[in-house]
Symmetry: C2
Subunit: 687 residues, 2 copies
């Protein structure tokens, strides 16, 4: 057994801190293991000895004299290090520390927590927690928890093909309990708490390789790595609730792109690129799980709607439009056939409204669902029947199940009404692979999650020649030379050292040029008056003298007129280098709608990024202007990301603006600076 | 009895199309009325006579020979006009036409529907429907519906202090059924269908004057009037699901402001200004109803959180930040006192995390809730206890109820876990005035709805002197003269007719001026090269000649340099004149985040509008620029809205840009045109 598998497949479990005292936490796991029929070996451990619930108590892990797959540490914080050491030395595979009082309390606790990890790693033991509520489930019926959920006589043993991993213990078991109530087949649940050693991502990676698990639901508060989770998501659908959105915006930014690429936006992009569904809340997480459990995939976004209630159909359409899914456009043939069966006071286009006529005309709903499913433009079906009861529901449930089975399309039902109106309805639908939701919005959100996990694609990442990294503190001119040598479009320029050279340069650039002050630490050159466009032979001397007075060098550059200005940035993040593309120039902060992606990206990514921002309408040619050369921008962005890919992390690349003309684009400004330099720049007077 | 009251208080009900045949729609209302114990007089009507469910059948309404409060028309569409006429002539108060086959089927159906209304109005009868599913509830136990919800033995009689009105019949009864299942005390439900005569708004207005109703929930697909609903909302809380968001954006626009003020955005603004909560879906509508039912009000946005699960606390904080509510900042004294009781591994600031320690330490949760409620910075409390069971829940339920009663603060509970873990929990909480939600997001959304209905304010609308309306086809110059005469800041300008006058004008304006082509139908002057800034004595002749060639007059104007450009527009909408404020000039379409409000507005509204848009950071002085004179802009916007308030509707006012300087602001362009003119302009090449 892989060691983490012990969390749901342990053949032997020790409970350190076991006690006979009713109500004590150290008694609960033993109580639960017995109550739910765990078939393995249970070893209560307590130096006081005696018996717990009829089982002999071992004074220590060493005294058990057989390997233990899983040890639960349930002693006060002060005694945890000794207990963990005892487990590690006894060769335990996995140790769950449920006790609180570690990194979450401050530096002293963090220090002890680090020592726990050191001891565990020294002996090859994995450590889950501390400050968690354990794990439950699996065919072995592992009840390695003190959660009160299992003190209730109404809670069944978790069973099903979905797994749940939660960094939060209480919320994780709460979600499990809610999932059980709603019929979401969660068979395994693991909580990871402080994640001193084992993270929720580690557990998810192990879970997707388990044959009893078909999909994984995750609640996390921090996402420190994405690559292994992305590999897991390539195997089985994963949905995530990532908490802490609101704090993300508070992080101070060291450059334009850093400021735009807020941490939460990076998380969004990382999950999306990995084909992982990010969902809004625990309701949506469980809703996605119910759909994942059916085994359906949805490599498309086009949704067909059949409804008995016009209102539900409109709400479904609103929800589809709001979340970026598509209302399927039906074939003419489909509409003709639907028109023949749908009442005149209904609607034979999508959303298809069969009206309350279904109550009088059995079979109407089924015929419409069948016809919709046969349309090649439909990737999934939402079936809304608000208040049908009894046989009407049974018949529809069978019909939806038949379509699901025959076509393989995802089919979800919306039943806005009490379950008691057709008590067997939900179960029958679930048995037929059709999850049921109370509102159209929730059904559509579940399909969106499924689609997000089904539309992952492999990227054809260009890997062209590398450009050499500039030295720390490289000037605009130096960075531009490197980019130009890498094949990027940079207007010719030269540093000028005298009035005569200034006049000379203007002439060489065709009679008009741009002059820029090149002053270390001056980031917003334009705002400081350090950029002068349209310098002519007449004004060259005056402008040169003025810019020289700013304290640095002066760069003369060929003048590129007009165009749509974009920003392209590459910054570091906890999840890897982040590419930012957005509206550039002086609009950058006003528009502030840059798109971000983790690197590497391919051309499709870059086109999607442009489409997400206000660049799209600007490039398309607002107000009758000629369209700009979007292909040139896409190539340039891809090449920047590609040729700088091995530049040191921690140094930001900030190209702003790159101006896009009707034919081609030009990098007008480029900066390269380390994060610490950026901080200094900020202190030196940046906004 | 006011006639619409008959929908929930009828003393006599006739069912036209009554039949004994089991399963037939015409039998169901009689069945339901008897089953649920209606105490009034039931009159089955059918020319065939006989008996239905033991009641004598009348051949016609006239034959009943006593006044009927409420008649249900359940005959085929072709027979409806005759039935309605029969009702009207017999002096019926309200007639509900449930039959389908009218306006929803096309022009012929619409024509018959109009005839129904004509007949009803001629006799002073109100007509509900057609194409609806009737009404239920009230102390009289009116079951005027064929909804299958009441065919189930599990559906209790609707009871409670909340009323539900739904334009959609099936969705309305579905929501009612779901609400009953969830314990939302809906005592009255009315569906309005095609709304030929009576609208959902009419019903809501009647409902708020009913003493048994404390709040109203509404599902609507069209909102044609807002004023009477606003008056109703001033009396009792109202929450609305408005469907059809996604179609709104498709409406073609005739001017910048028309394009930005999409119909759905206007609905949003109208509801918000009226103090009506617009909620996302039926879940949120019922969630709001559960909170409204407690009688709580929330004239603030600051939410205190107490949680047993750190994860739930973070999710609550995220939800609060995402929806514009505020995470309460606690007093130092509160934090000191909380620190004394919250475990070190918890959190004594907001969100207050008491951790699973509550299981071992009864009273901890209560103490924290008490302390939080005593903080003057807290407007409402969210209490999250994910997976507590049994006595723990009972104790907390009592404590929350006590705080609710003692302080009057809204208190909501989040219980992410199966109801079966503490079956009495939800009922006990509800009895104590504390609604329970499964996720923090839904609890926060309910508080947001309550806050929206509690923060309505009366506007101190300025009503200064009116400006005369320009004639149709008025030129920029003419509109500007009117605005200047109304006290608005307009740069001096003059029409020039010759090269000599052009040179002269530049000199009078201080050596530099703006020249503009004044060409009827030319809306985007700048794009067409019709605006030239910085005209000097040297260039005046050339510019004048060039602009003259565009085919109209040339206007010379004092040159106002720099500033932040805003757009101010007033357009017509189905709900009344709409004010738009946003980023102006060439950025208008790129930024596209204008704020809208129905007129009239006051200064607070205008400041809020500015704060909602990218104007706010621009006016504050981006990148170290001096702050612009926001007060001047606020005054100008208010004055524009005020002095044009009696200008003909259907004519748009479009001021773009008004430029805001460090001291004062100036209207640089102003247009006035009728909608039809706008259409022509659009056809003439505007995008």
């Amino acid at each position: 057994m892989n060691s983490l598998q012990a969390l749901w497949a342990a053949g032997s479990i020790a409970v350190i801190g076991a006690t006979e005292r009713p109500g004590a936490m150290g008694r609960l796991p033993i109580d639960y293991l017995q109550k739910y029929g765990y078939q393995g070996f249970i070893a209560p451990v307590n130096p006081k000895g005696g018996e717990v619930l009829g089982l002999r108590v071992f004074p220590s892990m060493a005294s058990i004299e057989r390997p233990v797959d899983l040890a639960l540490v349930m002693v006060p914080a002060a005694a945890v290090l000794e207990a963990v050491t005892d487990c590690a030395q006894a060769g335990t595979s996995v140790c769950i520390v449920m006790s609180s009082g570690f990194a979450e309390t401050g530096a002293a606790g963090a220090s002890v927590q680090a020592e726990l990890v050191r001891v565990a790693r020294a002996h090859g033991m994995r450590l889950v927690g501390p400050n968690c509520i354990g794990a439950v489930g699996g065919p072995a019926r592992v009840l390695a928890t003190f959660s009160p959920v299992f003190s209730s006589t109404t809670t069944p043993i978790p069973a099903g093909n979905i797994a749940l991993v939660s960094q939060s213990g209480a919320l994780g078991f709460g979600a499990l309990s809610l999932g059980i109530e709603r019929g979401v087949p969660i068979g395994i649940a693991v909580t990871t708490g402080n994640e001193a050693d084992v993270t929720a991502v580690d557990v998810a990676v192990q879970l997707v390789s388990d044959p009893t698990v078909d999909a994984v639901l995750i609640y996390i508060e921090s996402l420190g790595e994405i690559n292994s989770l992305a590999h897991a998501a390539a195997l089985k659908p994963i949905a995530v609730v990532k908490a802490g959105r609101s704090e993300a915006g508070a992080k101070a930014a060291a450059s334009h792109t850093g400021a735009l690429a807020s941490a939460d936006k990076v998380v969004d992009a990382a999950l999306r690129q990995a084909g992982i569904a990010r969902v809004a809340d625990i309701d949506a997480l469980l809703d996605a799980g119910a759909l994942f459990a059916t085994g359906a995939r949805m490599p498309g976004r086009r949704i067909g709607i059949v409804t008995t209630s016009g209102g539900s159909g409109i709400l479904a359409a609103d929800a589809i439009a709001a979340c970026g899914m598509q209302i399927a456009e039906l074939d003419d043939a489909t509409i003709v056939e639907l028109s023949a069966v749908v009442p005149s006071y209904g609607n034979a286009t999508n959303p298809v409204d069969v009206t309350a006529a279904v109550m009088a005309e059995p079979g109407l709903f089924e015929r419409c669902v069948d016809r919709l499913a046969a349309d090649p433009g439909v990737d999934a079906i939402v079936a809304c029947f608000a208040v049908l009861v009894g046989d009407d529901v049974t018949r529809i449930a069978r019909a939806l199940g038949a379509v699901r089975t025959r076509t393989g399309l995802p089919v979800v039902a919306v039943r806005t009404g009490a379950a008691s109106l057709a008590p067997e309805g939900a179960a029958l639908l679930a048995a037929n692979g059709v999850p049921v939701y109370p509102t159209p919005e929730r059904a559509v959100a579940a399909l969106q999650a499924l689609s997000a996990t089904s539309m992952r694609r492999d990227r054809e990442v260009i890997a062209g020649p590398l450009a050499p990294a500039p030295g720390a503190g490289a000037s605009e001119k130096q960075v531009k030379v490197i980019l130009a040598d890498a094949g990027l479009p940079v207007p010719s320029s030269e540093l000028i050292g005298s009035v005569a050279a200034a006049v000379d340069a203007v002439s060489r650039f065709g009679g008009v040029a741009v002059f820029k002050a090149v002053v270390p630490g001056l980031v917003h050159k334009s705002d400081a008056g350090g950029v002068v466009l349209g310098v002519t032979a007449e004004t060259a001397a005056e402008v040169f003298t003025r810019l020289s007075a700013l304290g640095g060098q002066v760069l003369a550059e060929r003048f590129v007129r007009g165009g749509v200005e974009a920003i392209v940035g590459i910054t570091a993040s906890a999840l890897g280098p982040v590419l930012t593309v957005g509206v550039g120039g002086v609009l950058t902060e006003i528009v502030a709608d840059a798109a971000v992606r983790l690197l590497p990206v391919d051309e499709i990514d870059v086109r999607e990024m442009i489409a997400e921002t206000a660049l799209a309408p600007m490039l398309a040619g607002a107000r009758g202007a000629a369209p700009a050369d979007i292909d040139a921008l896409v190539r340039a962005v891809g090449r920047v990301a590609d040729c700088t890919r091995e530049w040191p992390t921690g140094f930001e690349r900030d190209i702003n603006p790159i101006t896009v003309l009707a034919d081609g684009c030009w990098i007008l400004d480029a900066m390269y600076f380390g994060a610490s330099t950026g901080d200094q720049l900020q202190q030196a007077g940046r906004h």
